[in-house]
Amino acid sequence: MLVYSLAPLVWILIASITPELRADSWSSGRTVQFFPSQPTFQNYIDLFANVPFGTYFINSTIVATGTMFVAVLTASLGAYGFVRFRFWGRRTLLFAMLMAYMVPSVVLLVPLLVIFRAYGLINTYPGLILAESTNTAPFVLLLMINYFSSLPRELEEQALVDGCSRLGALWRIVLPLAIPGLVAGGLFAFIAAWNNFLFAFLFAATDATRTLPVIMRLFALGEPAVWGISAAGAVVTTLPVALVFFLFQKMLISGLAAGAVKG
């Protein structure tokens, strides 16, 4: 089972340190080795030298971080509103927002493409961040609603009795308590945005703004003729997300179980 899970990953790791694996069709007679006779890190160096990989990495980071902030900010405020207040239209609005989550990305591709072009948002960071928010914001909303529901009202009520304003109570009492939830939500948003391919592919197509998953596709098409470089790229692309995951495992796994639907 572990083999099943980890095997492809181990292979790509090995591939990334294999020297000079050319995608030549006439060498089909050659056998593939399980482990290279001369492992090397040269592929990693070539990766950053031949392909503007560093730029892509930075782009991914900017977009993922931006999406994280937008999603967490809007979703946590919204979640607080939904959980702590009863107001006209509460159920309907929530239903509408969750339906927004269910809208297939396919449907949004075309209109967003047209709209972004009209507003000059193509190939810009804000544009991509906005697009990614369609997926991430509702999910974080759900997560935060779950989370806020589990926080006891008594503390806020106490603060209100003591003369605090609603906003003051939010800032001083709720916020510190909510930090674990916010962090979890933020991480999910970050991972989702980092991994996203579809929107990045359509809305950030220039070298200056391209993100990592898009490059993965080019590599899959056999772009650099040396597969070792592609493999190195795959490893570097995965590292940040893998790191985040390993550091925050417990939080992420329980968050997945609680609210993950779309993935």
């Binding site: 995608a23 991994n195 995965t238």
Partner: protein, 305 residues
């Protein structure tokens, strides 16, 4: 005689004055965001689906009503796409559940290193799908794919096979990649459901002399059934939307072999036929959202109570 207490107009005005605007301020940011990038574009997509717009001649798009829909139902790629989407859904979700169930049952027991194994199981899900696609392309490559090497050494094939060039095998490679990446999510959710079953029930059953199989059949399975049913429904909906891995691994497959509806709409978009692409996408969306509306209503209710 004019203003009787309780006259409707007066009551309404009074109620309006009592409405607290504060919650709406909290909702405002996310409402605006989703209105701008979800609601409005969806409406726009429906509109576009009824025009003959192309990306290059957008300004001269003509309203053509349901012509796109009629075109779709006469379009062999679209019609086959329905079957291909269904096939993709069933194969992928079926395999994911079939593999996830035993794993979840296994992880439900306490054993040394459980946390580590659980984390390792989840890894495929966290990896960017684009990377997964790349890795699988690499593994099944016709010239230096490790799969070919292994099969050769096991004596199952005589020479390297270009797996991605054949419609059937390319489908299975793509499905394999998706299953590999998607199973962990199923494991986690099934595991969470398993852990809500109190262990006393199992102990009682053991006292009554129930075998493992009987325990599974009469305790575990009925308890899991609702969760698994929901899971299958949702996962199939999500799989119908999926484009990333299919596109990167096969770009639609040799010919149209891997064109699910979502992929078809995407390909149409990249060919600039955005009116028709929108129509296909909206048709897909209507079907899927009708199916998911039940779940969303249930979710909204349970979350707000």
């Amino acid at each position: 005689m004019t203003d009787v207490i309780g006259s409707p107009r007066r009551e309404f005005a009074a109620r309006l004055r009592r409405v607290d605007p504060l919650p709406y301020f909290f909702i405002l940011p996310i409402a605006l965001l989703l209105a701008a990038v979800s609601f409005y574009p969806t409406l726009y997509a429906i509109w576009l689906g009824m025009t003959d717009a192309t990306l290059l001649r957008l300004a001269r798009a003509k309203f053509i009503g349901i012509d796109n829909v009629l075109r779709a139902f006469a379009d062999p790629v679209f019609l086959n796409g329905l079957w291909r989407t269904l096939r993709w859904d069933i194969v992928v979700v079926g395999a994911e559940v079939a593999i996830a169930l035993p794993i979840a049952l296994f992880l439900n027991r306490n054993f040394f290193g459980r946390g580590f194994v659980r984390a390792a199981i989840v890894v495929p899900y966290i990896i960017p799908p684009a990377v997964t696609a790349l890795v699988f392309v690499y593994i099944v490559d016709g010239n230096f794919g490790i799969l070919n090497e292994i099969l050769l050494r096991l004596g199952l094939i005589n020479h390297y096979v270009p797996w991605l060039s054949e419609p059937t095998s390319s489908f299975f490679v793509t499905a394999g990649a998706m299953i590999w990446a998607g199973t962990p999510l199923m494991v986690i959710i099934i595991l969470a459901a398993l852990q809500t079953i109190p262990s006393e029930i199992y102990e009682a059953a053991l006292v009554d002399g129930a075998s493992s199989w009987q325990q599974f059949r009469f305790i575990t399975w009925p308890h899991l059934l609702p969760t698994i049913t929901f899971l299958i429904l949702l996962r199939m909906i999500w799989m119908s939307n999926h484009i990333d891995i299919i596109y990167i691994v096969t770009r639609g497959g040799p010919g149209f072999a891997n064109y699910t509806e979502a992929v078809y709409s995407f390909m149409l978009t990249s060919q600039f036929q955005i009116g028709y692409a929108s129509a296909v996408a909206v048709i897909l969306a209507i079907v899927l959202m009708a199916a998911s509306a039940f779940y969303v209503r249930h979710l909204a209710r349970s979350v707000l109570s």
